[in-house]
Symmetry: C2
Subunit: 124 residues, 2 copies
């Protein structure tokens, strides 16, 4: 299972232990944050998030039109993001509008700014 065959001479034991403490202390936070970032790390979902940032609210049909994708595929992406609290919904008759939650809008703002300025190729 664990082939930790690190039998090296030089290792900063203090450093290793400090790091182990950090990891065990923040373990749940790492999982939580990575889980959310994995959603953003998909170009379809990143586009959806950015479009919602710009347009405030859009429905499944709008996004399907804009991205040239199957409604069902879009709906499933939206569901994931809603389940993990990146998005919230508001019904207007038959139409369901999706929008960014305040928390995630704030958190993702630095990335939206990069995209806004389309300066990604220089910055990253």
């Amino acid at each position: 299972m664990e082939n930790n065959s690190c039998i090296r001479q030089q290792a900063d034991i203090e450093q290793i232990n400090r790091c182990k403490d950090t990891v065990s202390e923040l373990n749940e936070s790492f999982d939580y944050l990575a889980n959310r970032l994995s959603l953003v790390g998909n170009s379809v979902r990143l586009k959806i998030l950015y479009l919602l940032f710009e347009e405030k609210r859009l429905c499944v049909c709008d996004l399907s039109d804009i991205l040239g994708m199957n409604i069902s595929a879009i709906s499933q992406h939206l569901r994931k993001m809603k389940d993990r609290n990146l998005l919230e919904t508001e019904r207007d008759a038959q139409t369901i509008f999706y929008s960014l939650t305040a928390k995630y809008e704030k958190m993702l703002n630095p990335f939206f700014e990069i995209l806004d300025k389309n300066k990604i190729l220089e910055t990253i």
Copy 2:
């Protein structure tokens, strides 16, 4: 292929077209950014990135010890991040030290700060 069966009555055509323009203009940026964020959206890699942020540099063996994982598995994670310019290496005899590139340290800083304060549960 494209079952865009959105035959709806109300659609803000201007909005749809504006969004389509945005997507086509920024298309490569979306792909590029999503690709990088997908790397961060994995808890093992997020831990590695955070540990490198705190400790400045670590080798494969260190990370293997700290995370209790197979050296090969860690090495493959590091390779991915190096290939996509999140990390850089520096050799010291047999040991290869990994560190964050300045660009990505800056870009990921907001997340590191959240983790630093361990305030993730309130913030996100």
